[in-house]
Subunit: 137 residues, 3 copies
Amino acid sequence: MQTELTIRTRGQGLYEFTPEVRDWLAPVEKDGLLTVFVRHTSCSLVIQENADPDVQTDLQAFYSRLVPSSDHPSMTYLRHTYEGVDDMPAHIKAVMMPVSLSIPVRNGKPVLGTWQGIFLFEHRAAPHSRKVAAHFA
Amino acid sequence: MQTELTIRTRGQGLYEFTPEVRDWLAPVEKDGLLTVFVRHTSCSLVIQENADPDVQTDLQAFYSRLVPSSDHPSMTYLRHTYEGVDDMPAHIKAVMMPVSLSIPVRNGKPVLGTWQGIFLFEHRAAPHSRKVAAHFA
Amino acid sequence: MQTELTIRTRGQGLYEFTPEVRDWLAPVEKDGLLTVFVRHTSCSLVIQENADPDVQTDLQAFYSRLVPSSDHPSMTYLRHTYEGVDDMPAHIKAVMMPVSLSIPVRNGKPVLGTWQGIFLFEHRAAPHSRKVAAHFA
């Protein structure tokens, strides 16, 4: 069973799509394995706390400092700069965080912990329409 | 085939659970795919060398420096600090390292390389009981 | 369906093996899930842009700075140094980037985005022969 989800982003940050995943799996009522895979090289899929929104703000703040824009004095060695100052840092972050996640499913429900949500982490500044391939078996 | 393993941790560092995984798979004697998924947002699952224990010490030493405590002068921008100085750094590391691992299995044996072990990487200082969902198909 | 691919590396950097994966899957003509898993602790599997080769150069440049050689003044705390100055940094990077990737497959084709390629990211300086286990179901 496969589908493709579309996540619309409006700048860097985390976008939760746990409800879309739950809705797609709910009719299944079976055990299995869910895999989500993002079809882009400048955003990531992460599991994180969905209780306190400050966690998401802090995550973005940390990674913006760890991988600064390509116009930052510490990043002058970068060559791939013609797609924008946020583009090569986005590729760097996309290597550091997951492109695919696999989650066991029980009775049609992903076995997420109490505070775990599934997020797309957008690393580009401009709005994007992101495609996430989902597979269940 | 699914189960849930419990890993008890006593502070930051790597805890190997390869034997528990091997024991669970051994009766299977089939080819397939093993997936492990940790149901928490402040620890990770990693594959690493299980020969020289200094590797594990060094891994923890590096990541403690890369993501310091939230009371460190370089981390004053963090907002999510009320759950302890090690909590937000734990979330940051949990985004940087895997939450799920998928390993092909041959005749009931995960095809790990000679020096590869499966570890839970605990990012919190206090003892925790960590739940790892395992799926084989 | 399982196989093992061998990727020969000649120093640090990214080695694309998307064609080998496509060739193996092509006769299948079915939907399913592809998983690749690298059987080593000093290299990684990543999905990245395969259009502009500068992206690969920049990725390596960034990670070499983030995790310098163990003879760098900032890395004197490392203990596992007897296998070479690039060995412990390789383990550190292998924890930060994926060891396994799972990609949905449609009609025998992995649903990679337009610019996505599958790469082995070699973290060691010396030539290596790397084993990648592949699973399709």
